[in-house]
């Protein structure tokens, strides 16, 4: 039983890391390798807020961080990514260009973070209390993170499925050139998806900072995990990333508990390979015809 709950909690954590990248890659078609740095930036913002506000709930910092991250990512898209989109002759070229550009961006962000906050480890303690579920203790901050992640996933899913802007985003994700034929402003929609993705990632950083310890150079770890999840889930569907997060969380926990914690990474990548071999388009991906 505790394997399932810990696995679900970890899955929620992973969903927070991967959701933003899913939006950026699935809709805006930008494989953002600076995703982890955005997450760290969110975590640092929260740390700063938590210390400056003499320990108010870190969740309040979302009010400032989400719009800021949205704006920052909008600007990044307009300045850095849009020229690439304009000059790209096809999807493949855009992907290669954006990977290179965001790879560079990740170094710039690490440098900025180092310059602003320094290289020290940042950590604080919030809601590090046990909460009993079926008479077993779990970290309250992890449960809160899980709930936040569930709200975020459901909210995003319904927003994409039920609203007009969501519909436009999905249309762009299916076929950018056809979308522009039905008077969808593709550049606008992509920028929107990229900015929302960035905001979601930063919000993830805020929530994760309640129980993870960060330093400026840790971003790449989160980027890698998110990458695995997004590719595993299938590029075009947000449900894919959610399901993949939970599969990964459950597998890693089961392996850690039943076999050996040393094998968690190996099991995650084994799973990743199996999915790539059996369903190269991802769990929820569409087969290209």
């Amino acid at each position: 039983m505790d394997i399932i709950i810990i696995g679900m909690l970890l899955g929620g954590t992973y969903a927070l890391m991967a959701m933003g990248l899913q939006l950026q890659y699935g809709v805006a078609r930008i494989m953002n390798l600076a995703n982890g740095e955005m997450l760290i930036a969110g975590a640092f913002g929260t740390f700063w807020f938590y210390t400056a506000s003499s320990q108010a709930s870190p969740l309040w910092s979302l009010i400032g961080i989400v719009p800021l991250a949205f704006a920052a990512n909008w600007i990044i898209y307009m300045v850095l990514i849009l020229p690439l989109v304009k000059r790209a002759k096809n999807q493949g070229q855009l992907e290669v260009d954006s990977i290179l550009a965001t790879f560079g961006l990740s170094f710039i962000l690490v440098g900025l973070l180092l310059a602003i906050v320094g290289g020290e480890y940042l950590t604080y303690s919030y809601l590090a209390r046990p909460i009993l579920i079926f008479n077993e203790p779990y970290g309250l901050n992890r449960v809160v993170a899980f709930i936040a992640s569930a709200i975020l996933c459901i909210g995003l899913y319904f927003w994409l499925q039920k609203t007009r802007p969501g519909l436009a985003l999905r249309a762009v994700s299916v076929n950018p050139s056809a979308a522009s034929l039905v008077s969808i402003n593709v550049a606008q929609a992509s920028a929107m998806a990229f900015a929302i993705g960035g905001a979601v990632t930063a919000a993830g950083g805020t929530i994760l900072s309640m129980f993870l310890t960060f330093d400026a150079s840790l971003g790449v770890i989160f980027t890698l995990k998110a990458l695995v999840i997004v590719v595993m889930g299938g590029v075009a569907d947000i449900r894919g990333a959610i399901v993949a997060s939970f599969i990964l969380g459950l597998t890693e926990t089961a392996v850690a508990r039943l076999i050996d914690p040393g094998l968690t990474l190996a099991s995650a990548y084994l799973l990743f390979m199996i999915v790539l071999l059996v369903r190269p388009e991802g769990l929820f991906g569409r087969r290209s015809s």
């Binding site: 909690l9 180092l114 203790p137 150079s217 914690p261």
Partner: protein, 397 residues
């Protein structure tokens, strides 16, 4: 393109160095420093490595500089970022020695990089007084590199120290004989776990849980749940900073109530006590410092000058090694590198950690285990000292 970029980079760095040096007085001494300002090692170096250099250089210059026979000379510190990469560090040390021709090169940061750069220090005769270097090969290394000094305890001493503490507690009837042990799955963690495992068995302990976890593990709750299920009397983790923090949090959540709780790196960081406060009381970890007015003053001044809280493991040792260098240089009275090395092999020095003896190229006395007691991380075990602070069994979370 690669070559062009790195050429540009090299040109820019060279230019920056020239400009930096141009500002200095011609008769100032040039001290080269190499260390990680970016990359995975940067967070450790930001606490232990660079701030001590800056503090010491400022203090020496405030006094008017190093006293040489030719008069007092101020120090200009040239800091270089090795990006946590040994090849980069090798290039930097080579450049400091052959191009910048600095008067002295301060030690590098981390075991791997100190080892990687040792041949370069040796080639140019710079004394290399390595603190951030934990290895069991010290005795062989100093034979190979006559200018190398190991200012740190060997790996096995840390395992020995932790086991000594547990044994003392067991003999006093404070804990039973069941130990849960976890380690991070990299060279450091595995080496310590292996050393710890043998020594625990010899000391009559039963290791009831013994597992490793990979670097960057985000969730240690399965590990802690299983460790608790094994019903240990003591918990030992050969851990790095992010997991040291995460394990502590999980231990509290799982209510792992052991009388002896040990986690390796970062337990002695002031941030650890800052984060957990009262909860950190009587937690054991690597390092430790003997309390003294000089040490208290060092922490105060370190914070005032650099804005960073010094840690309770490497930081005071780093400062002590800089004091050692200072006294050796002033003892010789000139920037004569072989003579400075020889001076260190013949003399002992007075520092904030007491008398320093590196005549055999290896620090003779060192603390290996610390324990948080009333907000100070006291040394409770070590090698070469005669008295340590008594160990206090931990109360429940």
């Amino acid at each position: 393109m690669q070559a062009q970029t790195s050429l540009k980079f090299a040109a820019a760095t060279a230019l920056a160095t020239i400009l930096g040096l141009g500002a200095a007085q011609a008769q100032d001494l040039k001290f080269g420093a190499v260390g990680p300002k970016t990359g995975p090692l940067a967070s450790g170096a930001a606490v232990t490595h660079f701030p001590n250099f800056q503090l010491w250089v400022k203090q020496v210059n405030d006094r008017g500089g190093l006293k040489l026979k030719s008069g007092q000379r101020k120090i200009v510190l040239i800091e270089n970022d090795d990006r946590s990469q040994p090849p980069e560090a090798i290039k930097i040390v080579e450049r400091l020695a052959s191009v910048d021709k600095v008067d002295f090169i301060l030690p590098a940061y981390s075991t791997g990089i100190n080892l990687a750069t040792a041949p370069i220090y040796a080639k140019y005769n710079y004394p290399q007084i390595a603190q951030a270097m934990v290895t069991d090969q010290g005795a062989e290394l100093v034979k190979r590199y006559p200018n190398l000094f190991v200012f740190q305890a060997p790996t096995s001493a840390f395992a020995q120290g932790a086991v000594d503490v547990l044994k003392k507690m067991k003999d006093a009837g404070q804990i039973g004989d069941k130990v849960a042990m976890v380690n991070i799955a990299d060279a450091f963690g595995i080496e310590l776990a292996n050393a710890g495992r043998d020594r625990l068995a010899k000391a009559g302990f039963k290791v009831v849980y013994d597992r490793s976890y990979p670097l960057g593990t985000q969730d240690l709750s399965p590990v802690m749940k299983a460790a608790k299920a094994a019903g240990p009397d003591a918990f030992v983790a050969w851990s790095y900073p992010p997991d040291t923090f995460a394990l502590m949090e999980q231990a509290k959540i799982e209510a792992l109530n052991v009388k002896a709780y040990y986690s390796a790196v970062a337990t002695g960081f002031q941030g650890f006590y800052g984060k957990y406060g009262q909860l950190a009381e009587n937690v054991l970890g690597a390092g430790g410092i003997q309390d003294s007015p000089e040490i208290r003053n060092y922490y105060k001044v370190h914070k005032e000058v650099t804005g960073v809280d010094a840690d309770y493991w490497g930081s005071p040792l780093y400062y002590a090694l800089l004091q050692t260098i200072e006294q050796a240089i002033e003892g010789v009275g000139a920037m004569d590198l072989p003579a400075i090395t020889a001076h260190m092999k013949k003399n002992t020095y007075k520092t904030i950690i007491g008398d320093v003896d590196i005549r055999n190229q290896i620090l003779s006395k060192v603390w290996t285990v610390g324990q948080w007691q009333n907000g100070f991380y006291h040394a409770v075990a070590g090698e070469g000292f005669s008295n340590y602070k008594p160990i206090i069994p931990k109360t429940n979370w």
